[in-house]
């Protein structure tokens, strides 16, 4: 779906990404892990087409891929002057039943007539998540999508995301600082180094998203941690 060759990026003097090579298959779930400020968000913005100031080549399997993007700062994905309901569909033709189902799933239905500034940080993130899910997108770009959710809600949303994902299989790239989430959800985990980000390791999960395989889970968890530690020493 996306072919990245020798991608580099700098902000004036600072190199942020250095020689990233990556091939993402259609229907793949990829997680990106890396230290603060290493360039994860930058990479995601480049992949989404929002930032085209880079060196290297990116090839997409088709044009006009339908995308959903959950921005790291949820204020970046909503219009302050629109209600929760309007912010979910953003002027696109989406069945109101679908919107309702999703907003009910994340407990926002009773706030549908409220404005974003009347929501808490976590609720705003849920609104951004609802928006991302309501479209039939082929490519999901998620920048720490669950960072402000409480434990119960996160479990719920994760379950919902997995259900939706198994049904439609959209290509998904998720940035996360949560190793457990990454191991539980992904086909592959990409671990980035400190800035300028290089790929330290790509961990492929055999038998991904299978439940109740704790030893298996622990093995990958250890491997990710090990790579991160090695990256800090380097």
């Amino acid at each position: 779906m996306i072919e990245v060759k020798n991608l580099s990026k700098r902000f004036s003097k600072n190199a942020v990404l250095k020689g990233i090579n990556l091939s993402i298959k259609k229907g793949e779930f990829i997680s990106i892990i890396g230290p603060n400020g290493c360039g994860k968000t930058t990479l995601l913005k480049i992949l989404s087409g929002l930032d085209d100031h880079y060196l290297g080549h990116i090839k997409y399997s088709k044009e006009n891929i339908r995308k959903s993007f959950i921005f790291q700062n949820s204020d970046d994905s909503m219009l302050p002057w629109k209600t929760v309901l309007e912010n979910t569909s953003l002027g696109k033709k989406i069945s109101s039943k679908k919107v309702k189902t999703i907003l009910q799933k994340v407990d926002l239905w009773k706030f549908r007539k409220n404005y974003p500034y009347e929501l808490s940080g976590g609720m705003k993130q849920l609104l951004a998540i609802s928006r991302a899910f309501v479209y039939d997108s082929e490519l999901f770009l998620l920048d720490e999508p669950f960072s402000s959710l409480d434990h119960y809600m996160k479990t719920n949303v994760l379950k919902y995301l997995l259900e939706m994902w198994k049904e439609k299989r959209p290509t998904t790239i998720m940035i996360s600082h949560n190793i457990e989430d990454a191991v539980m959800m992904s086909d592959r985990i990409i671990i980035l180094s400190e800035r300028p980000a290089k790929i330290l390791n790509i961990i492929k999960i055999d038998n991904p998203r299978s439940k109740g395989t704790l030893p298996h889970f622990n093995k990958y968890h250890r491997e990710v941690l090990h790579t991160i530690k090695r990256g800090r020493v380097l």
Partner: protein
Amino acid sequence: MNYKRVIRYVLIPGLFFLVGTLIYYCKVFNPLMFPNPLLVGTEFFRIIILQETLSDMGLTFYRVLIGIAISLVIGIPAGLAIGYFKKLYDSLEFIIDFLRSIPVTALFPLTMLFFGIGDTAKIALAAWLTTTIILVNTSYGVRHLNKSYFNMAKVYNIPKPYFFKNIIFYGSLPHIFSGIRIAISLCIILIIVTEMFIGSVNGLGNAIINAHLAYEIPKMYALIIITGIFGYALNKVASLIEKRVIHWTKQH
């Protein structure tokens, strides 16, 4: 809470009245120039009760309103276009900055040449002035829109009509409204001036100058106060509308 209002609307104005009275009785100024505030007060209420200035006020209001209305109809769409299309902005920035730098009063003779001395001339001047203000504020609003809205519209491939109406236009509303407030204040100033000096037979400006020419100084003071109240009321209405429309910028 109410005592704050008493201070603001009764005590402080009352203090001004007292100081005025003091100035009058100490004869700081010639009493012909600075009449007894009590006399001004009586004039004020006489004018209000006899509704003497109602038609003048109505006409001034009408001129201000038409001027503002024209500026909204022209200034907002033009400002949105100039703010959004960078090429348009780059080509027009200089000429707009230049045109709005011409003091509008310098255009009096020119306007009279084209429109004579009737209502059209006054309204044309007012519309010219306010349109430049609204246009510049609107385009500023568009250019300073948060980049995240553009990012969002791009990734989600938002339909163009929705994008222009609900993102570009709505997003610029706070700046459009501050333009409207400035425009109203300046428009009142301009209309009053034209009513005084461009052959008028009516309007608040004309009433003030007539009182002056007839040497009815207390009446002139009363009319100035009435004009002040008129301007205050217009600004108040504008800011009430603004508060209702732009609910999302208030910080809690």
